[in-house]
Every structure is written in C-alpha cells, then in structure tokens.
Subunit: 265 residues, 2 copies
C-alpha cells in the first residue's frame, strides 16, 4: 500500500528564509492524529496552485513548516486543474452534502454555491450560515489534501435561488427532472458541449423535493433572455446528489476529452 507524505494547507508557502506558522487546528491534527514529530517531512500547499516540500518544526507550543526551497516544487494553474464549473446545489441533508462537496473537489469543480431552496429540507436558521460554511470548507480542504489538488475549491455562503439568479454568469443551466414539465429543456449534450469551453458555467441542481413553482417561474422568466437554460439529465429520476455527481462527472470527462495531452497524469 502507498504511504504518502502528509499535506498541510498554509495561507502562504514557506521559503528558506521564512518558515510559516500553522493554524491551530492543522497543527493539532498533525500532532494528535498523524503523530508527526519535529523534523518529519510534510508537503505545504497554499491552495492557490502551489506546493513545496517542507518539514515540520515545533517551537514551544506552536507548529511551523520550514523548507530549503525558494520556489514551489509543484504548481498547477486553476485552468489546468479544474473544470470551469460552478456548481450551485441545494443544501442537502448531512451525509449527502458532505459527499457532494468531497466529490466536487476530487472531480475538479471550481466553486460551489449552496442554494437555499423553497423545498429544501435543511434549516440553516438556528446555527447560522457561518457555521455551515466553515464546516463545508473544512470538508473541501480535507478532500483537497487527499486528492493532491493544489487549487482550493471555495464554498460560498448559502444563497437563496432567486438571489443567485441576479449574479451575472456567462452561462447558467438548471438541471430539471423528467417530470418537472419543462417542455423546452434541452438534452444534456449541449451542457456537455458548453463545458468544453473555457468560460465558467453555472449549473443549478435542486433539492430532493424538486424546484418550487415560484422557482420554476423565475427560471422561465430568465430563460426568455437566454441567460439560463433548463437541461434534462436523462430519463431516470435522479436523487439530488446523484444529479450533482452526474453533472460534475460529465464536466470532468468533457474536460479530459478536450484537453487530454495537456494534463498528463
């Protein structure tokens, strides 16, 4: 079985002249879970496309990463490493949401916007959206280290569907199910074709209960300006997280199809 050098996420990369102090949660994970000691090798990431081989240093009760390198030992641009996909997905119940976030990072989704939907089942009221965003971003960053991706996937603050439509997007697509009654829904292949280009595309995926009549009306109004298009994901009724997984899997395969050769494994 492979054993890998632990990866740590820092705000900026260390250089030979300036070690970087680790945030407390990262330090405590290395110490208590991974049992790393002073001098053990680590790989430091900045989440912006760079990593450098480094080592752990303990000073008093703080943990630092130090390196002999003055340049990153590996880099990947955002364009090379991610698909130009912004996934706008209904806030799903616990496990499903964690899975979607983790898989989105691994499959190269660029950004994730959690949507507050009329038929959503998760209430963010009590704990406040900050609590959720921090949790989701932690899941995303954990997946980042696991899959050796170098560019962080940002998880935005939750946004109501009608709010998110106000933000300009190059193209915005809404995944609709067979029974939602969108006569004008285009087959999925157009979405897949569109994803081969470099411009960011927003895809909206709704909750288990589907889009509400008010949300559908808003989509219809938007689609008249061609800023938004309903897309059909095939004949079966997909669960919300399956629709999200399908969208991101297809986006990744479109990317690999059109750019392979550039992205050597």
């Amino acid at each position: 079985m492979r054993s890998r050098i632990p990866r740590v996420l820092c705000g900026t990369l260390p250089t030979s002249k300036s070690p970087v102090q680790l945030p407390e949660d990262e330090a405590s994970h290395l110490h208590s879970v991974l049992r790393l000691r002073d001098g053990d090798p680590v790989v430091a990431l900045d989440g912006k496309g760079h990593e450098v081989q480094a080592r752990l240093q303990h000073r008093d009760k703080t943990a630092w990463v130090a390196t002999d390198h003055d340049k990153p030992t590996r880099t990947h641009s955002l364009d090379d490493e991610t698909t130009p996909l912004v996934l706008e997905v209904a806030i799903l119940k616990g496990d499903a949401m964690s899975w979607v976030i983790e898989k989105a990072v691994e499959m190269g989704v660029r950004r994730l916007v959690p949507l507050v939907c009329d038929y959503g089942v998760v209430e963010i009221g009590k704990k406040g959206s900050q609590h959720f965003v921090e949790r989701w971003q932690r899941i995303a960053d954990q997946a980042l280290k696991q899959c050796e991706r170098l560019n962080r996937m940002k998880v935005d603050a939750p946004s109501p569907v009608l709010e998110t439509l106000k933000y300009q997007a190059h193209q915005r697509w809404v995944a609709v199910e067979p029974r939602a009654g969108f006569e004008e829904a285009v087959p999925f292949r157009f979405l897949s074709e569109a994803l081969k280009e470099r411009d960011e595309i927003h895809v909206l995926v709704g909750p288990e209960g589907g889009w509400s009549p008010a949300e559908c009306d808003a989509f219809r109004a938007e689609s008249k300006h061609r800023a938004l298009r309903p897309a059909s994901l095939g004949p079966l009724v997909l669960r919300a997280e399956t629709a999200a997984l399908f969208v991101m899997g297809s986006a990744l395969s479109s990317q690999i199809l059109s750019r392979h050769g550039k992205l050597r494994p």
Copy 2:
C-alpha cells in the same frame, strides 16, 4: 412537492386474471412503513423492463397486487434504459459501497460485480458472501423503485480479481491512478468513446489502497493480449468510490450524447 404512487417489485407482473402475491418483506414495507391499505394504488414492476398500474389487495395475512390491465402500462428495453457498462468494483466500506450501488442503479449501470482485492479492507469471511449479496441487491432494488428504472441491476457474488479476469469480456478496462506506474495507461477518452457502442464493457475499479503488485502483474499479462487496457482517470487522486462514480457518470453522459432523441425524458 411531488407525491408518487408506491412501486413494488414482483417476480412476474399481475394481469387481470392473475393477481400476484408479494414477498413478505415487500408486503411488510407497504403495510408498516408506507401504511397502504387494501385497494390503494401501486405500480408493479417485474425488474425486466415492464410495469403495470395495479392496486394492493389484502387476503387474510398475505398481500397481493391486482390489475385490470392485461399488458404492461410502461416498458423500457435494457438497451434503452441502461449503459452497456459492467462495473467491477472493489468491495468498499459500508456507506461507500451502498452509495456506489445506489448511484450505479440511478446512472444506468447494467451489472455490478463486487471484487475481492488484495488491498481491500472488507472481510466477507465471517458473515459469508450470501449475506452481502442479499444486502447489496436490496439496496439496488430500493434504488430501482426510487428512480423509476424498470430493469434490475444485478449484483453478482463477490469475485477475486484474478478470477474475474478469466471470464471473457468484449472489452475490459482497469482504472489506474496516476501513481500506479502504468506507463501504457491510455487516456480516459478512449474508454468514453468505447462506451458509445452497444457492446458490454467491463471496467474495474480498485480499493482505496490501490491494486497490489500481483494484481498489477496480472493486468500487465492480460494487456499483452489486448483483452484488457489500463485507463487513466485524470490527474487527481480519486477515492475508490469517486473513481466508480466518475466512470458511471461518464458512461451515462456518453450514452446520452450518442443516443439522445431516442431516449426522450
């Protein structure tokens, strides 16, 4: 929110002349969980591409489905409804395996073969493979009803990797990760192209710990006869279940790309 007529899986469909008795677990689910009563509408499936609108009948302590129709009210051929993909996937830990099975049904995978791998983490010894197969098939059948698919996805008995290679397959591909050292791994697009055809393709996805040296040797030996090809799934290190989800998502999108128009939602 949509409310749907409950779906029940029967060995054969009822006709106007012959109602069909439901298996005990199906009957008990309708009674105790869904609270259905005598005369309530249900949709009966045979898992072989047919469904018929029917109603529940209680006789003494047994449950039956009866119908006025003599022909199925909806049919879908296996070719129309599924992708010609046989997913051979390492037995993954609890939740991950359930997810992969559920998503495989929704994304139209035709058959699933659980693989016993050298670096697998699940021991089937104690409970026996029958216990697992029954559990997995139950998950698959539950997903079948949920997503309105009409053709069952069969879950095979677990098979060691080296055994499964003995079975003839039109094409067999092995998903390999960037670091597995398969110089000859072809980019994913060939797999995606191959999936546009009608012949069944077997894709092997390994466990979290990767393929063992012995398994890799067997793959190399097989690949000399071109019966098997290693395929690279891109530059990031995917978890086992993500690799499986990616393979099935891409297969479905290849199918929808090449056959849309035929499969109207």
